[in-house]
């Protein structure tokens, strides 16, 4: 039992491998005594993290662990095992399947408004850079140097850490735009489609901006992006209602909004 308790403490301290962690968690589920041990260890970790400096005092030698963490996870590679002929047959089968399925899938996935939903190179964040939000501009500059996923992660992290900051709305807009940019999926650049979950995440961020009704320019940009998001999902009516909001704003996007309403109408009438 004592060994099990030691393992539970190591589990809480993150000293076990993932596989060992899962095994110990199974034991904790079955044994209330181990569950209590986990509770105590967790409380100690929390107290040490929150009040450790005051409680245990500064200790430059012991505050940072000088030992390299052991490799807790064995890296495994799953190499393809098979002879060359099997590999060739497998590859051909995949290519033929893709060739047959792609036109069918794209017919259902690609709506008529795909071309109109394209985001221009100088997006909303680029236009807002002149608005003096230097902190946001810095955050954005930092984040665009990486790939889409990394950009989204850093913006999500920022929002998580500063949910009520002065630039929260701007970060939401950046995040919404980034989700829309990364939502585009295309096979061989022929059949563009969109990752609906990403478009929905963009909707969530843009809705928050619009509902909060703060900075006019932010709300304007959010309506514009939400119209694009609606087009990505093949919902022209929703897009038009956002674009009409922009016309009411009579701001810098109203001309583009008017043009886009016209383009949508011409596609809708020809269908």
């Amino acid at each position: 039992m004592d060994d099990s308790k030691n393992m539970v403490r190591d589990l809480v301290l993150g000293n076990l491998s993932p596989e060992e962690s899962l095994r110990v968690l199974d034991m904790v589920e079955k044994d209330p005594e181990l569950s209590h041990e986990l509770e105590l260890a967790t409380s100690l970790v929390n107290v040490a993290a929150e009040d450790g400096k005051e409680l245990f005092g500064e200790s430059s030698t012991l505050k940072h662990n000088p030992f390299p963490r052991r490799r807790a996870f064995s890296r495994r590679s799953s190499a393809y095992a098979g002879d060359a002929w099997t590999y060739l047959r497998y590859t051909l089968a995949v290519l033929v399947t893709i060739g047959v399925l792609l036109p069918v899938v794209s017919h259902f996935m690609t709506g008529p408004y795909v071309a109109l939903s394209a985001l221009d190179d100088s997006g909303g964040m680029e236009r807002l850079r002149t608005a003096g939000e230097r902190e946001l501009a810095r955050l954005y500059d930092e984040s665009i140097s990486g790939n889409d996923e990394e950009t989204i992660r850093s913006l999500e992290r920022y929002l998580r850490r500063h949910p009520q900051s002065e630039v929260t709305g701007f970060v939401r807009l950046a995040l919404g735009e980034q989700y829309l940019r990364s939502a585009r999926t295309s096979m061989l650049t022929l059949f563009p489609g969109f990752d609906e979950s990403k478009v929905n995440r963009a909707f969530f961020q843009l809705n928050q901006i619009i509902d909060s009704g703060g900075n006019d320019r932010l709300v304007e940009e959010a309506h514009w992006l939400r119209a694009k998001a609606a087009l990505m999902l093949g919902r022209p009516d929703s897009a038009i209602s956002d674009l009409q909001e922009l016309l009411r704003f009579k701001g810098r996007l109203s001309h583009q909004a008017e043009q886009l309403i016209g383009d949508i109408a011409s596609i809708t009438s020809s269908e």
Binding site: D2, K5, N6, R9, D10, L11, L13, G14, N15, S17, P18, S21, L22, L25, V28, E29, S35, L38, L40, T42, S43, L44, V45, N46, V47, A48, E50, G52, L55, F56, S59, L62, K63, N65, F67, R69, R71, A72, F73, E149, I152, R153, E156, R157, L159, R160, P163, Q164, S197, R201, F203, F204, N207, Q208, D211, R226, R235, S238, S241, D242
Partner: protein, 178 residues
């Protein structure tokens, strides 16, 4: 706009007292678990928030107690961390869009300063040998092997010391709570 509501996903914090308690108590534990796959702290936090967000939003799983949440999230976090590692750390499945302000509420919700205070005072009154082992293990984060190298003591001695220290703490907690 008609579609706005359809795309807005929120969860009522006030209706989730178990989650508020679990999040406040176990966030560090879950993050430590995710980090066992040698990912960065930020990635570990992303994984924990991904798991918490999706469970809160989908509501496909009913939880009976804080401990139930603790164990379920812990296992999910480890599994996601393993998946991330197997993919070479290239992709973390992003959490569904839970309003970050809501997560912040979860973090700050509740309040267990009383029990923290009790634990603090107990630790402060521990004998020096017990205090040292608790400090090295729970504050500095050393393993027994590392402490053994630092203090030149056998691992079995250190384990006994930790057991004794925790026994003393548990006894004191019982005394103070009753």
């Amino acid at each position: 706009m008609s579609q706005t509501a359809a795309h807005r996903k929120t969860f009522p914090i006030a209706d989730e007292p178990l989650w508020v308690e679990a999040y406040r108590r176990y966030l560090r534990f879950w993050t430590n678990l995710a980090r066992t796959t040698l990912i960065t702290k930020e990635e570990a936090e992303d994984i924990v928030h991904g798991v918490v967000s999706s469970l809160l939003l989908k509501k496909t799983k009913q939880f009976e107690s804080v401990e139930h949440i603790r164990n379920y999230v812990a296992k999910s976090v480890v599994n996601r961390a393993i998946q991330l590692r197997q993919r070479g750390g290239k992709h973390i499945e992003l959490p569904d869009s839970v309003d970050p302000a809501s997560l912040e509420l979860l973090r700050s919700g509740g309040g267990d300063r009383v029990s923290s205070e009790i634990l603090r005072s107990i630790i402060q009154q521990l004998p020096p040998r017990d205090f040292e082992i608790i400090k090295l293990r729970f504050y500095s984060g050393f393993t027994f092997k590392e402490i053994g190298e630092l203090l030149n003591l056998p691992i079995s001695t250190l384990k006994s010391r930790e057991d004794a220290a925790l026994k003393r703490i548990r006894k004191q907690i019982r005394k103070k709570v009753s």
